[in-house]
């Protein structure tokens, strides 16, 4: 099971977190037993907006997260 925490606070939502969440949820539909998504308030890493969005895949923190990076990190762990 891959545990993904995604920040959906003000900063992160402005710069793409909602779109990453959407992609993650679509991925979860394909691998329902292997991905757990937690939407969290703030991971306290985005004091500079350039570091948002922040996503945590298991223990790995990804700042300035982008769709393709998050998805590939998740897929690495599924396979």
């Amino acid at each position: 099971m891959v545990k993904v925490k995604i920040c959906v606070g003000s900063h992160c939502s402005l710069v793409g977190a909602l779109n990453i969440l959407e992609t993650l949820e679509e991925l979860q539909e394909e691998y329902p037993d292997q991905i757990q998504i937690e939407r969290v308030e703030c991971l306290d890493k985005c004091e500079d907006i350039k570091k948002a969005p922040v996503v945590k895949v298991d223990d790995e923190i990804i700042t300035s997260a982008q769709n393709q990076i998050v998805i590939s990190k998740v897929m690495e762990r599924i396979k």
Binding site: G9, S10, H11, V15, G16, A17, N19, L21, R39
Partner: protein, 500 residues
């Protein structure tokens, strides 16, 4: 719908960062010179990331800053610092003017206009149906592949349909493809140019351009300065707002956050929608078919601009009932005559509606959800941590469902059934091109007796260019919120009693 709708790209990022910077400077009453720094704050690398040169990247950001302040587009032919222009603008009337939607001309990459091309999928097959079906003999079979003579080609698409290898593509400018009213033309340099006689300011081309070369003007700065001056500003928020600021941010939190940035009061525009749906039901019951053959709904400004500019014969049959925005604003100003009203919505063309003579005294500012999200960031408000205070309960289920395509007609129909025992035939036009087609049908008399709903954005207001969520997600949130409404029907809404 443009393929780019709902996808977060670097264009979206830059647009939002510009909004956040403008809001930051407005909030701290910054000097004009501070605005000269915005292009450097946003493009802070040493070499270009997105375009041919970093100077061009910054010049484009500067053009966005100008329009973000509500200023007119400038061609860059004269030397003028951003700050000088801003000072002139702010010292004069500081009011944005038409045209609302503009091409940043030097950002336009001059995409080829509509044309059919043969790709290297072509196998130069023996059958070559492409050349056989061409009605103007434009396709010839050359040494390695089929070739289309662009001089002869009439873009009928027959060759594309006939090819067994999908080797022929129809190449369209994305901005022009997104424009259902054919307002995008070319200038002398072959860059996109918006024909303002045709443009209905829907904003779809802003989303569609993959080079971020089209932008609309904003009132972020004017709004925040008004709050800074201590004016009594009240917000009315459009029905598609639910969920736009993330899954942990409830409607009540959004209201509380708006109060934190200085709004005295926040009301649902759905309240105005309840009023509008009752009013339009009454008009329909009174006038159709005796005095007028059909009624078109009034809430989407771009839809009414299509009637104005493209099918003027139908204009008098588009309801003269005011839009939900106007009703909601009036209900605020009734009791607070010196207040200013800001409409917050998904919509670009509402900015233009608010500038019209009829509306300018009712609605003072219009901003989008995207612009508001940037304001929250600039004001350092963490939405997930805001304490929700009061519940909002201004409107009915059907008023809240106005934001989805079909929702407006359905609300009016429910009122007609209940109050007048009429169940009218309904025609719904979803998207710009369909709106125009439907109005043409209405003009021809084909849909007489109908209640006609027009929504310029596909999916309805939840598909608007100022949203943060993908259209289908926005629609789901709207439905869920509608289910929680204190009333089912507009005619049950006792908050309207004073006005009905």
């Amino acid at each position: 719908m443009s393929r780019l709708k709902g996808i977060y790209t670097d264009i979206v990022k830059i647009r939002r960062m510009v909004f956040a910077e403008l809001a930051r400077l407005a909030l701290k009453d910054a000097e004009c010179e501070e605005f000269d720094k915005i292009p450097y704050r946003i493009i802070d690398t040493e070499e270009a990331t997105y375009r041919s040169s970093i100077f061009k990247e910054r010049a484009i950001v500067a053009a966005r800053v100008r329009m973000g302040l509500g200023m007119d587009y400038e061609t860059n032919q004269e030397h003028k610092l951003l700050s000088e222009g801003i000072r002139d603008f702010l010292n004069n009337d500081n009011q944005l003017k038409e045209p609302l939607v503009n091409v940043i001309r030097f950002a336009c990459e001059k995409c080829p206009t509509n044309a059919h091309f043969v790709t290297n999928n072509c196998r130069k097959c023996l059958a070559h149906p492409c050349s056989i079906v061409c009605p103007v003999d434009a396709v010839s079979i050359e040494e390695h592949a089929a070739v289309i003579d662009q001089e002869k080609c009439i873009n009928c698409g027959k060759c594309k349909e006939a090819c067994p290898y999908e080797a022929i593509v129809n190449y369209e400018r994305p901005c022009a493809a997104a424009c259902g009213v054919e307002a995008i033309e070319s200038d002398d340099y072959n860059r996109a140019r918006i024909n303002q006689n045709k443009c209905v300011s829907c904003g779809q081309c802003i989303i569609a351009c993959p080079f971020g070369a089209i932008a609309d003007k904003s009132m972020i700065y004017q709004l925040l300065k008004s709050i800074n001056r201590g004016e009594d500003v009240r917000a009315i928020i459009a029905p598609s707002f639910v969920g736009q600021f993330g899954p942990l941010v409830s409607a009540e939190k959004i209201v509380a956050a708006l109060k934190k940035i200085g709004m005295e009061e926040v009301r649902e525009v759905s309240l105005g929608a309840d009023f509008a749906s009752l009013h339009e039901a009454e008009l329909f019951a009174e006038a159709v078919p005796e005095q007028q053959p059909y009624i078109g709904t009034s809430c989407c400004p771009s839809w009414t601009y299509i009637a104005d500019k493209h099918v003027p014969e139908t204009r008098e049959n588009i309801s003269d009932s005011s839009s939900p925005m106007i009703f909601a604003a009036q209900s605020v100003k009734e009791n607070n005559q010196n207040s200013k009203v800001v409409f917050i919505g998904p919509c670009v063309s509402k900015k233009l509606e608010a500038l019209s003579d009829k509306v300018k005294d009712e609605v003072d500012f219009v901003i989008t959800f995207e612009e508001l999200a940037a304001i929250f960031v600039a004001a350092d408000i963490e939405l997930t941590k805001v304490e929700a205070e009061e519940e909002i309960s201004d409107a009915s289920y059907y008023g809240r469902a106005y934001a989805n395509a079909g929702g407006v007609a359905e609300a009016i129909r429910q009122n007609l059934k209940e109050k007048y025992e009429i169940d009218p035939p309904i025609t719904k036009a979803d998207g710009l091109a369909e709106c125009r087609k439907t109005l043409t049908k209405a003009k021809a008399g084909v849909i007489d007796g109908h209640l006609i709903e027009g929504m310029a954005c596909e999916g309805g207001c939840v598909g608007g260019p100022g949203t943060l969520l993908a259209t289908n997600r926005g629609a789901k949130n709207v439905n869920k919120f509608a289910d929680q409404a204190p009333y089912k029907f507009a005619f049950e809404n006792d908050k309207l009693n004073s006005r009905c």
